[in-house]
Symmetry: C2
Subunit: 148 residues, 2 copies
């Protein structure tokens, strides 16, 4: 851990007002990560990182998560080609969330369903039903990931 920029948790004062990255990993070793489009701030997706994923993100500049379903590191874009280039990494006041601002290119998609953002539906306040407004899928999931 000598070359890691991740430091042990310390006092509340240091965590909230200090200059060292001291992320809080939960009992499963995970920290939530919000990823946004660096150009528009649009929220693209939400996933978890473990320590290796966070270090890999910082080291390689490719946003890397921990896949809870597959139980392993998940370099975003490995299968789909939809790499997220890290442009800025932030943490919140108590350092228990990571925010990545990424460049996914003009026609990049972040969602496994092919949409630019995973948040492709909003709640209609009148009907209280969901409305699709995230544009057309930018790739065909079956083509990219195979069937099933």
């Amino acid at each position: 851990m000598s070359q890691s920029c991740l430091h042990e948790r310390s006092s509340k004062e240091e965590i909230e007002k200090g200059l060292r990255l001291q992320p809080k990993f939960d009992e499963n070793g995970l920290i939530p990560c919000i990823t946004t489009d660096v150009h528009t701030n649009e929220v693209l997706m939400f996933a978890f990182m473990n320590k290796d994923a966070l270090e890999n993100t910082i080291k390689t500049g490719k946003v890397t998560y921990f896949s809870r379903s597959r139980g392993k590191l998940w370099v975003k874009g490995e299968s789909s080609g939809q790499v997220q280039r890290l442009r800025e990494l932030r943490t919140d006041c108590d350092q228990d969330v990571i925010l990545c601002k990424a460049d996914i290119g003009e026609n990049g998609a972040s969602c496994h369903n092919g949409y630019r953002s995973c948040f492709y539906r909003k709640l209609d306040p009148q009907d209280q039903t969901l409305v699709f407004d995230g544009g057309e899928p930018l790739f065909d999931p079956e083509e990219v990931y195979g069937k099933g």
Copy 2:
């Protein structure tokens, strides 16, 4: 639950492509919530909601979380006056995250430290230290919340 717009979880197809809000609450009854500024898309904060918090948010238009530390509903702004007016509510592909776009006013703050956003520090890629760039605090936390 007759008047609730929250529906029971159903099939993957319905959850990902359907028009009904079917949020997934975890084993503690919580769902992560990202809140952004409706005007700039800036990520303001991240917290959790339970079912009551989500229903209250939709019903009242005031973003409401569940405080894990206090173990109760947390209508944002109750203590600080920094209410988050809901302008748009979204969910992601598998409906296990909520995204609220809120209006907090021109001089509103979301962080208990007085900053507009909780994400007031970014990682400097060279030094690998955190840099404050979230502006000046918009209120004095001691004045608003009291000491300690």
